[in-house]
Amino acid sequence: MDLLTVRSLGKIYTGAVSYEALVNIDLTVGEGEFVGIMGPSGSGKTTLLNMVSTIDRPTSGEVRIAGEDPYKLTYDQLALFRRRELGFVFQAYNLLQTLSVKENIVLPLVLDGISVGEMNRRAEEIAEKLGIAPIMDKRTYEISGGQAQRTAIARALIHRPKLVLADEPTGNLDSRAARDVMEILEKRNDEDRTTMLLVTHDPAAASYCNRVIFIKDGRLYNEIHCGDSRAAFYQRIIDLLSMMGGMDHEFSPVRRS
C-alpha cells in the first residue's frame, strides 16, 4: 500500500528573481519503505522534503500522506496530523535547550496529553533501543552531537508516526556517529515497519535505504534500488552521483565487478 504519493508537484519561489525549485515531481513511497533523496546542492531535495513534511506549501500539485492531503487540513487538524502521523529529524537537531533529553523526547506525547505513566514507559523503551538511557536527565548542551541526533530521533519515533522525515540527519556528525544514526534508522524501519524519507548528500548514509531517488535542477533524474549487497548499492550511488556531474574530481568512476 502506498503511504505517500506526490503528484506533479511544483514549487516556485517568488521574489525579485522568481526561481523554480521543483518541476513536476511524481513520487510514491510504499508503507514500510526507506527511501533516500539525493542530488547536488540546490537541486531541490530539501524543498521536496519540506513540501512533504508540511513545512512549506507547494505552488502546484498534490501531496497525500496515508490518504490525507495535509494542505487541505485546518491549522489545528494539521497540528494533530503532525503530532500523530509525522516524525522529524533535522541536521541541526532542533532540540529545545530549555528541556532535558527526556523532556525533549516525550514532548510530542506531552502535546497529545498522554498519561505520565505511559509517557515514562515509552520513553524508557525508546531510550533503551537508541542507547541513550544513561543521558536521559542531561540537558541538551551537555551531550555530544551523536547523542543529540539520537535524542532527536527518539523524539521523532516515540509517538509511532506513520512517516519519518529526515533532512541530512548525519550532516553534522562524524562518520562513526553517522553510522550509528543510520543503523538506528535502518533498524527501526526494519523492526517497526516505520516508513522513512531521508534527504542526504552522503552516499554512505544513502546506502542504508531500500531505494534512492536522484533529483537534479528540480526534476527527477534517476532512481536506483538496493539489491542484496549494501556495498554494491553504495558503489552504484557513487557512480550515479559522478555521472550527474559536479563530483568527477572527487570520485573516479570504478567499474563494478
Partner: protein
C-alpha cells in the same frame, strides 16, 4: 511532565531571555505602586498638611492623571518588551508547531508563561516598593516642603490598586501575546535565524529632507519663543511634529546613507573599520526604530524635568516680586508705621536682618503711575541695583512693575516725546529719558510706572484728593528660610481686621508655588524615570536580540584572526554609538526646548539644564560601561 510543567520549565530555564522582560515589568509595577502610595496617603487626602486646599486638589488631580499615564505607558512598554522577546523565540515556536503543537496549546503556553512572569513581577515590584516606601515618603515630604514629614503607613489600598491594575494588565498582555506570536508560516519560523538580511538602502533625497525637517522644526519652535506667540499652540505642536519626523528620517535614512558613503572611502579598508562600518550599516537599519523611540522619549523626559525644575526655582517667585514682605498699610498712617515696626521687631527677634522702605504710588489720569525718585533709589539700593538720576522736572524714566510688562517694555522701549501727567488740578508734561529694566516697584501701575523727581511728585500730589496708601517693602537676604515667622506675621496682621491693611510674604508664596511644583516635580520626575528606563531597556532588548548573531559573526572572524583587544575595540565603538547617538539627539532636542524656555523666564535655567544632562549622561555612561563589559566578556568566553 505535563503541559503546565513544560511551560514553567520553559520560563525557569530560559532565565536570561526572560530576565529583561521580568525586570521591566517589575519596575513598572514599582513606579505605579509608589504613585498609588502617595495618592492614598492619609496626610495627602483632601488638604495637604501645611498649605492651602486648592493646591492639594491640584496635586491629587496631578497624581491621578500621571497614575493613568504610567498605566497606559506601562501597557505599551510591556507590549513592546513582550514583542521583542517573542521575536527571539521564533525558532522555538517553529519546532513546537512542527512537533504538532496546536494553536490552542501555543496560546496556552504563552498565556501561562506571561501570567507567571506578571505574577512574579507584581509580587517583586510591590515588595521592593514596600521596602522603599519609607524612603519614598521621606523624600517626597522633603520635595513637597511639608515640614513635619509624611507618616509611614501600611498602604493596603495602594497594594490593592496596584495588584488589580497590573493583574488586569498582565492578563491582557498575556492574551495579546498569542495574537502577536502570529500566523507566520512554519518554514519562516524555522529559517528565521539563518536567513541572510538584504543590504539596507537609503535615499539621498530623504536624507536631505530629514535635515530640512529638523531645521524647520527648530526654527518654528524658536519663532514661538522669541516672538512670544504664546497663544499659538498649533505652532508649537507643528514645530515638535516636524522635529520628530526629521528625527525619524535622520535615523532611518541619513545615518544609513552616510555610513554607505563611508564604504567607498579609503577609511573603510583601514584595520577594523571594515568590520565596524559594515556592522553598523546593518545595525543602523535594525536599530533606526529603536534609536528614534529612545531619542524622542528621552527628549520628552529631559524637557519635562527641566521645565518643572524651572518652575520650582526660587528665581521664579522673586522674579515676580523681589521683596520678602510687602505690607500695604491702610488709611491710618501712624497705625501702619506701628505695624511696620512690629514686623521689623519680629524679624529681628527671629534672627533675620532686613531693610524696609516705603513706596507711595500715585495713579495719574493718563494711566501712568508715578513714584518718587528718592523712593525708587532707596528700594533699588536695598535690592542691590544701581541708583538712577534725573536731570530735572521735565525728565522721568520708565520701569516695569510686572513680569509681562517687563517683557513688553524690553521690546517696545519708552515712548518718545512729552507725556501729560494729570492728577486732579495738577498737570505736568515731562518726557521719558530712559528705561530701567528691573522690577523695583512691583505690583503697581498696569499701564506703566514712571519715576519722577521728588519736586515734581510733591507738586502733583497736591492734586490728589483720595486717601494715600503707602506700601512698605522689606528685603530679607534669607527670605526663603523665614517660613515660620512669615506664617505668624500673616496670621496676626491679616486676621486682625483692623485698618484694611494687608501683608504679603514671598516665602509663603514661594512655598505654595513650590508645593504645587513639588508635586509636579515628583510627577514629572517619576514619569521621566519611567520614560528613561523604557529607553534604556529598549537598547538592552536590541543588544540581546543581536547577541546570537554577534556570537556567530565574531566566532567566525576570530577564527580568521581577531585579537581580544580588537574585538573589544569594535564592540566598544558599536555600543558607544548605540548608547550615545540617541542620547545626543535627545540632548540636542531638549537644548532647543531649553533655549526656548529661557526666552520665557527671566533667570538662568542653564545650571538646571546642565544638571539634568549631566545626571542622565552619567546614568547612561554607567549603563554603557556595564553593557560593554558584559558583552565583551560574553563574546570572549564564547569565542575562545
Amino acid at each position: 511532565m505535563n503541559f503546565r510543567q513544560f511551560a514553567v520549565h520553559n520560563v525557569l530555564r530560559n532565565k536570561r531571555i526572560y530576565m529583561a522582560h521580568f525586570l521591566s515589568s517589575a519596575f513598572s509595577v514599582m513606579i505605579f505602586f509608589t504613585y498609588a502610595l502617595l495618592l492614598f496617603h492619609p496626610d495627602l487626602q483632601g488638604e495637604l498638611v501645611s498649605s492651602s486646599g486648592t493646591l492639594s486638589r491640584l496635586g491629587t488631580i496631578g497624581m491621578q492623571v500621571s497614575e493613568v499615564i504610567i498605566f497606559v505607558f506601562s501597557f505599551f512598554f510591556l507590549l513592546y518588551s513582550v514583542g521583542a522577546f517573542l521575536k527571539l523565540r521564533k525558532k522555538e515556536f517553529g519546532i513546537l508547531i512542527l512537533l504538532g503543537m496546536s494553536r490552542n496549546q501555543l496560546n496556552r503556553m504563552l498565556f501561562v508563561e506571561n501570567a507567571w512572569i506578571g505574577f512574579a513581577a507584581l509580587a517583586f515590584g510591590i515588595g521592593i516598593g514596600l521596602i522603599f516606601s519609607k524612603l519614598i515618603l521621606l523624600a517626597s515630604a522633603r520635595l513637597l516642603s511639608i515640614q513635619e514629614g509624611l507618616r509611614f503607613y501600611v498602604p493596603l489600598k495602594a497594594v490593592l490598586l496596584t495588584a488589580i491594575a497590573f493583574g488586569v494588565l498582565f492578563l491582557l498582555i498575556a492574551s495579546l501575546t498569542s495574537i502577536m506570536a502570529g500566523k507566520e508560516r512554519v518554514a519562516e519560523l524555522i529559517r528565521s535565524e539563518d536567513k541572510p538580511k538584504p543590504e539596507p538602502a537609503a535615499s539621498a533625497g530623504l536624507s536631505v529632507l530629514a535635515v530640512l525637517l529638523l531645521v524647520a522644526g527648530y526654527v518654528i519652535v524658536f519663532d514661538f519663543a522669541i516672538n512670544r506667540r504664546h497663544t499659538s499652540f498649533q505652532q508649537l505642536l507643528g514645530g515638535v511634529v516636524l522635529a520628530i519626523a526629521g528625527t525619524y528620517l535622520l535615523f532611518t535614512q541619513t545615518s544609513v546613507y552616510l555610513l554607505r558613503a563611508l564604504r567607498g572611502s579609503k577609511l573603510f579598508l583601514r584595520r577594523t573599520n571594515l568590520l565596524t562600518i559594515s556592522e553598523l550599516t546593518y545595525r543602523m537599519k535594525d536599530n533606526a526604530a529603536t534609536f528614534f523611540i529612545v531619542a524622542v522619549v528621552s527628549a520628552v523626559a529631559f524637557t519635562g524635568i527641566g521645565t518643572t525644575l524651572a518652575l520650582g526655582d526660587p528665581g521664579l517667585a522673586s522674579m515676580v516680586n523681589p521683596y520678602a514682605y510687602s505690607y500695604s498699610a491702610g488709611e491710618d498712617q501712624s497705625f501702619g508705621a506701628q505695624q511696620v515696626k512690629k514686623i521689623g521687631d519680629e524679624l529681628t527677634a527671629a534672627g533675620y536682618s532686613y531693610k524696609a522702605h516705603a513706596m507711595l504710588p500715585l495713579s495719574t489720569e493718563g494711566g501712568y503711575t508715578v513714584v518718587r525718585l528718592s523712593e525708587y533709589n532707596q528700594l533699588a539700593a536695598d535690592l542691590g541695583y544701581r541708583a538712577e538720576t534725573l536731570g530735572g522736572d521735565d525728565e522721568m524714566f520708565l520701569t516695569p512693575s510686572y513680569v509681562w510688562q517687563k517683557e513688553d517694555m524690553d521690546q517696545a522701549g519708552y515712548p518718545p516725546g512729552p507725556v501729560e501727567l494729570i492728577i486732579g488740578n495738577q498737570k505736568a508734561s515731562p518726557h521719558f529719558v530712559k528705561y530701567a529694566p528691573r522690577i523695583v516697584l512691583p505690583d503697581i501701575g498696569y499701564a506703566g510706572t514712571a519715576v519722577i523727581t521728588d519736586r515734581l511728585f510733591d507738586k502733583l500730589k497736591q492734586g490728589y484728593a483720595d486717601p494715600l496708601y503707602k506700601t512698605y517693602l522689606f528685603t530679607v537676604p534669607d527670605w526663603h528660610k523665614a517660613v515660620g515667622v512669615s506664617r505668624e506675621l500673616m496670621e496676626s496682621i491679616n486676621n486682625d481686621g483692623q485698618n484694611g491693611d494687608y501683608l504679603r510674604s514671598l516665602s509663603l508664596e514661594w512655598l505654595s508655588s513650590k508645593q504645587k511644583n513639588g508635586i509636579l516635580f515628583i510627577v514629572s520626575g517619576l514619569v521621566g524615570i519611567v520614560f528613561f528606563t523604557f529607553a534604556a531597556s529598549t537598547i538592552y532588548f536590541r543588544l540581546y536580540a543581536d547577541m546570537d548573531r554577534d556570537e556567530k559573526q565574531y566566532g567566525m572572524i576570530a577564527k580568521v584572526g581577531l585579537s581580544g583587544k580588537e574585538l573589544s575595540r569594535i564592540m566598544t565603538r558599536q555600543l558607544f554609538l548605540m548608547f550615545f547617538v540617541p542620547l545626543a539627539m535627545a540632548f540636542v532636542h531638549s537644548t532647543v526646548a531649553f533655549v526656548a524656555l529661557q526666552r520665557l523666564v527671566g533667570y538662568s535655567i542653564l545650571a538646571n539644564s546642565l544638571k539634568i544632562f549631566g545626571a542622565f549622561a552619567a546614568i547612561q555612561l554607567a549603563y554603557f560601561l556595564v553593557a560593554r563589559w558584559r558583552t565583551v566578556e560574553h563574546l570572549k568566553r564564547k569565542i575562545s
